[in-house]
Amino acid sequence: MADSHAAVAGETEHPHPNYMAVFWTLLALTILEVVVVYTSLSVAALISILLVMAFVKAGLVAWYFMHLKFDHKVLSVIAVVPLVLAAIAVGIISYEYSHYTVSDTATLKVATEAAETK
């Protein structure tokens, strides 16, 4: 594991990816995004296409510009784990929120009906 990574600073240089190719891809996707917005696609199709393009662009930046491809994989783990944790937290909070909202509404309804029948 460790010996696949250079021990001294001089050996840590990695082959440079074709940064300009990444740049042109990002530029093309950005233009495509703006074009797609002005087409008459359905909202669902539009949102899915735009989200996929955004994540591809973000991935390209992290993978090539931020060198995740060439760095020790612990950095990729650091990049991904917090997003998973945040997604779980959001999921739990949304579930709790919907749960409480529904039951609060039900309680309110019962209470209102009880008050009306009195």
Binding site: A7, A9, A54, M66, L75, A79, P82
Partner: protein, 205 residues
């Protein structure tokens, strides 16, 4: 005993990239920056989710963003930010070859890109506030727009100051000592990455 301790210490200071004394061989500086970016990503992530939650809860009254926001102009700002990311990777590549002159040149270009982005955001805000009368208290659409874009704008402003501070000390970096250039690059690419997501969620969708 004390001699070896001193020797280890000397190694530490003679190896400015600080690669040799960690288990993963990832420099402490780089690890620090990634951990910082990870917590910053969680902040942005939760803000985006809160934004989507508010937007979905009011989907019947939520305006179409392109009715208020100027998408072609913002696409130009996106273009500027992507360009400044490219100049940043060129700056790092230059100092890894030991080329300080090119490092200064590319870093300056990156700073100018950041300043242009901030100027674009200033123009956008003045247009929206003066002509479209958007304000924090008018609607959730306005409030979430200003909170998300200004939080990102503050990151760009910090990035410009951070880049300028690295540029000011460019003379101390060499082909063996470039970690500070690398980690300012990580921060700058992250700001670009967040904008890519923000542009889609706030402007396009």
């Amino acid at each position: 005993m004390s001699e070896s301790v001193i020797a280890v210490g000397q190694d530490h200071f003679n190896d400015p990239n600080n690669y040799s004394d960690t288990i993963t061989k990832v420099s402490n500086w780089k690890m620090f920056m990634w951990l910082f970016l990870a917590q910053d990503a969680m902040t942005f992530f939760t803000m985006f989710v809160a934004y989507l939650g508010l937007r979905i809860s009011q989907s019947d009254t939520w305006p179409v963003p392109s009715n208020y926001l100027n998408i072609p102009k913002t696409a130009v700002m996106t273009f500027i930010l992507i360009c400044s990311s490219v100049t940043m990777v060129q700056a790092l590549a230059a100092i890894q070859r030991g080329d300080q002159r090119k490092l200064r040149l590319w870093l300056s270009a990156t700073v100018i890109g950041g300043l242009l982005f901030l100027f674009g955001q200033y123009l956008e805000y003045s247009e929206l506030i003066v002509h479209e009368h958007l304000s924090m208290s008018r609607s959730l659409f306005d409030a979430t727009f200003f909170i998300l874009t200004s939080f990102h704008g503050l990151h760009v402003l910090s990035g410009v100051i951070y880049l300028a501070s690295v540029l000011a000390k460019a003379g101390r970096y060499t082909a063996q000592n470039y970690t500070q250039v690398e980690i300012v690059g990580l921060y700058w690419h992250f700001v670009d990455l967040v904008w890519i997501i923000l542009f889609t969620l706030v402007y396009l969708i």
